[in-house]
């Protein structure tokens, strides 16, 4: 019974202690936020002047917390800058030792430190860290790999295309992170992606083709045409989508044939692609699909047809066998 009373007292004492910590921590955080807010206000014009100047600007002399806030501001600006300003930011971080400091943290035992360092290095515009970031793509912790992939994209590290593609396709980094990094690298990634589109692995083929659609140009459409007859439905879908994005007029006939594919997702992708490539023959082929196919292909076909020939949709929608998708498309056209 006495023990019970002791336990109760311990709980109450614990609560009081927690309240004291809470109050102290709250005061500390509030003071910190106020000081930081003031520093941001004061240093923002300095940071803007530093990155915006046409003449070589000497780095401002900063002390204590000022350097941290200034570095944060520069890192944020670096995400939307290129050219001379980018070079100035890189030089600043090299001169202040920021890059070396983050490189050191990239080998920390704590995963969150490695991830933070990999992420921050991307904002420091320091291209010399690319090999270390490529190595970080093999880190055992996914957050670190993701941060490294993101930074390689930010740094425009064309030499990292191969490991980035490998890491994205193997699942080492998520598709959205790896894909965006490759998008940041732009068209130089396309030749290797074209090679990978012939891989024996369907997942690799579809991933590579999807990225070709996002990064490539009309001239990259040719090798994708054969993939509309790929044995894997996912590859056929990716191929149709990519051909649509590339606006490949020469793919029209193959896409029309893909409207008869046995897999609804492929038919839907082909219909969407035909909406992007356009043409009378595409419109003729889309109408029966919009009228009578299953939900997704019919909806995609109706929307594609509305894009190519809105009047035809409105006329077709009044027919008794129009179906719900043509009616929806016609109503949307009339809005």
């Amino acid at each position: 019974m006495r023990l019970l009373a002791y336990v109760g007292v311990v709980f109450l004492a614990g609560t009081l202690l927690l309240i004291v910590v809470l109050v102290a921590r709250r005061s500390f955080l509030q003071r910190q936020a106020r000081v930081r807010g003031e520093l941001v206000e004061r240093l923002r014009p300095v940071a803007i002047a530093f990155v915006d100047s046409h003449e070589p600007e000497p780095a401002p002399e900063l002390h204590g917390g000022e350097s941290e806030v200034f570095a944060e501001l520069l890192g944020r600006y670096a995400r939307s800058l290129r050219g001379a300003a980018w070079g100035r930011i890189a030089a600043y971080f090299e001169a202040t030792g920021g890059v070396d400091e983050q490189l050191g943290r990239l080998h920390s035992r704590r995963a969150w430190r490695r991830a933070t360092a990999a992420f921050t290095l991307g904002d420091m515009c320091a291209r010399r860290v690319v090999p270390e970031l490529v190595a970080a793509l093999d880190d055992r912790v996914r957050d670190v790999r993701m941060a490294a992939a993101r930074s390689l994209g930010r740094l425009g590290a064309v030499e990292a295309i191969e490991p980035l593609i490998a890491s994205t396709i193997s699942g080492g980094v998520p598709r959205d992170v790896g894909g965006l990094a490759l998008l940041d690298l732009g068209p130089p990634a396309v030749p290797r992606l074209v090679e990978l589109s012939s891989s024996t692995e369907p997942a690799i083929r579809s991933g590579a083709i999807e990225l070709i659609g996002l990064l490539g140009e009309a001239g990259n459409a040719e090798p994708l045409l054969d993939h509309l007859r790929d044995p894997a439905a996912g590859v056929r879908t990716a191929s149709a989508t990519a051909l649509g994005r590339l606006g490949a007029g020469e793919a029209r006939d193959a896409l029309v044939r893909a409207l008869d594919d046995r897999v609804p997702d492929v038919r839907a992708a082909a219909a969407r692609a035909l909406g992007q490539t356009g043409g009378q023959r595409a419109a003729d082929a889309l109408l029966p699909v919009a009228r009578s196919d299953v939900f997704e292909p019919a909806r995609a076909a109706a929307q594609a047809l509305a894009r190519i020939d809105p009047r035809r949709v409105v006329e077709a929608a009044v027919e008794p066998d129009a179906g719900p998708h043509l009616r929806e498309a016609a109503d949307l056209v009339s809005l």
């Binding site: 019974m1 109760g8 998520p174 809005l335």
Partner: protein, 471 residues
């Protein structure tokens, strides 16, 4: 009799110890996870998700029944969400007020014969509308069929691969959809669904569908609910999620693969706890197929919601929750203690039955017996005081830990007096409210026995009227 009372008193006390031990364990897990989450914010890269053409679309589904007071603010906040591709699907579930009319006026709706999937059967759809000013706003007007039916109609109408379900009296913060979807985007094969935190909007200042000044509610009842929500979301859900045993994604804010909801059969119409039931059914569906999966909780994204300020309304809500809990547990009773369902069958489902559903029985009878026994002289005053000390002390400790989590990590309440008010109510809620809450939930047993169905009236004040800018 004395022996029976002694044994029962010990059983109740043991129950209390196990339950609170579990809460302490969940609190410890929440503290650990919160630290990781705080650090991970440094490399979250939400801007990248926002600008990526690879980010998949999300359909935000808003079921609405007589929501004319709040629907415009709610839709406005949803349309303004920071997400690269999203649509808002409002489903008016046979509203008899001006819900459709106010939407028509505000968003320039035009009737469009939208093609709807028929994967999940629902009550008849009367009309569908698309906004001329916001093409990503779709409004479905259907016959009344209940909240689940409205959600199913929303899933049928959704045009994106993911659906986010939120209440009409709720508002998402601008980044909330990005944040709640990030884990799924990063691991779409593993993450089946995610949920975010619900916070209380009563007395906050709301401007154009956005919370611009967070304040503790002035209503006593709403203030206590702030503490309940902090414990439920920042502690319990974070803790359960880290055990991969999250049993509920709140109906007010959850993100799912649309195809998974369809494959699982949509929301169950014969329950008032459709969010709990669907979450459990998804666990069951995926476990029975042997598919690896996770259902996750992300504490950072916030959905603001209005809570009842009247005892009668709150009582109805809690009784309804109790019924919903029973309906879900009963439907999936074969999962309880069944190793086939892993941690959800062995830990979470028994927890829901024993420590959630049955807790009013133990709490009320335990207290009653202890008090009566003390009055009759069977129990020493020292034991009685020690018992109260432990009960209240532990409750206080858990609540203060939840409040500290909120303060250290999110710091939403900027005014000192708001935090002081919450701390004061952490003490006061032990002196009557908890007991009353248990009584309401015990009345829920009667509702279950009587076979009660339906939601009952849910009066809305509207976000604009819940604040006083001069206060």
């Amino acid at each position: 009799v004395t022996e029976i009372l002694t044994v029962y008193s010990l059983v109740a006390f043991f129950y209390f110890l196990v339950l609170n031990g579990l809460y302490l364990f969940l609190t410890a897990l929440a503290w650990r996870d919160m630290g990781s989450e705080l650090r991970a914010r440094r490399y979250l890269a939400l801007d990248e998700v926002f600008r990526s053409p690879l980010t998949p679309g999300v359909s935000v589904i808003v079921p609405a029944f007589n929501e004319q007071a709040v629907i415009v603010d709610s839709v406005r906040s949803l349309l303004a969400l920071r997400y690269p591709r999203h649509e808002v699907v409002v489903v008016s579930d046979g509203s008899t007020d001006r819900t459709i009319a106010v939407l028509e006026e505000e968003f320039d709706l035009a009737p469009v014969r939208v093609a709807l999937r028929n994967g999940i059967s629902t009550a008849a759809v009367r009309a569908t509308y698309v906004s001329r000013t916001h093409p990503n706003l779709l409004v479905v007007d259907k016959e009344n069929g209940g909240r689940s039916d409205a959600l199913n109609a929303g899933v049928n109408a959704a045009r994106n691969p993911y659906v986010c379900v939120i209440d009409a009296d709720s508002m998402l913060e601008p980044d909330a959809l990005l944040k709640v979807s990030k884990p799924i985007l990063d691991d779409p094969q593993l993450l089946a669904a995610t949920g975010g935190t619900i916070r209380i909007v009563n007395s906050c200042r709301v401007d154009y569908g956005r919370v611009v000044d967070v304040r503790a509610p002035r209503s006593r009842l709403a203030t206590i609910q702030v503490l309940e929500y902090l414990r439920a979301f920042l502690v319990a859900r974070v803790g359960w999620s880290s055990l991969n045993a999250l049993g509920i994604i709140s109906g007010a804010f959850g993100l799912f693969h649309r195809s998974l909801v369809e494959a699982a059969g949509g929301y169950w119409k014969d329950t008032v706890g459709e969010d709990f039931e669907l979450t459990i059914r998804i666990h069951r569906h995926l476990r029975e197929r042997g598919e690896p999966y996770r259902i996750g909780f992300v504490s950072d994204p916030v959905c603001w919601t209005e809570v009842p300020e009247q005892f009668a309304t709150l009582s109805r809500q809690r009784r309804r929750w109790q019924r919903g809990l029973w309906e879900g547990v009963r439907r999936h009773r074969r999962m309880i203690g069944n190793p086939r369902y892993g941690v959800i069958g062995l830990v979470a489902m028994p927890y829901f039955l024993i420590f959630e559903f049955l807790s009013p029985v133990f709490a009320l009878t335990g207290l009653l017996i202890t008090v009566v026994w003390w009055i009759l002289g069977g129990l020493s005053t020292f034991y009685f005081i020690a018992f109260l000390l432990v009960s209240i002390g532990l409750g206080l400790l858990l609540t203060t830990a939840a409040l500290a989590l909120e303060e250290f990590n999110y710091h939403r309440y900027h005014r000192r007096r708001d935090v002081a008010r919450l701390l004061a109510y952490a003490v006061l809620e032990n002196l009557g409210y908890h007991q009353l809450h248990d009584v309401w939930r015990a009345i829920g047993y009667l509702d279950i026995a009587r076979g009660k169905t339906g939601w009952g009236a849910q009066p809305r004040r509207g976000f604009g009227t819940s604040t006083d800018p001069l206060a």
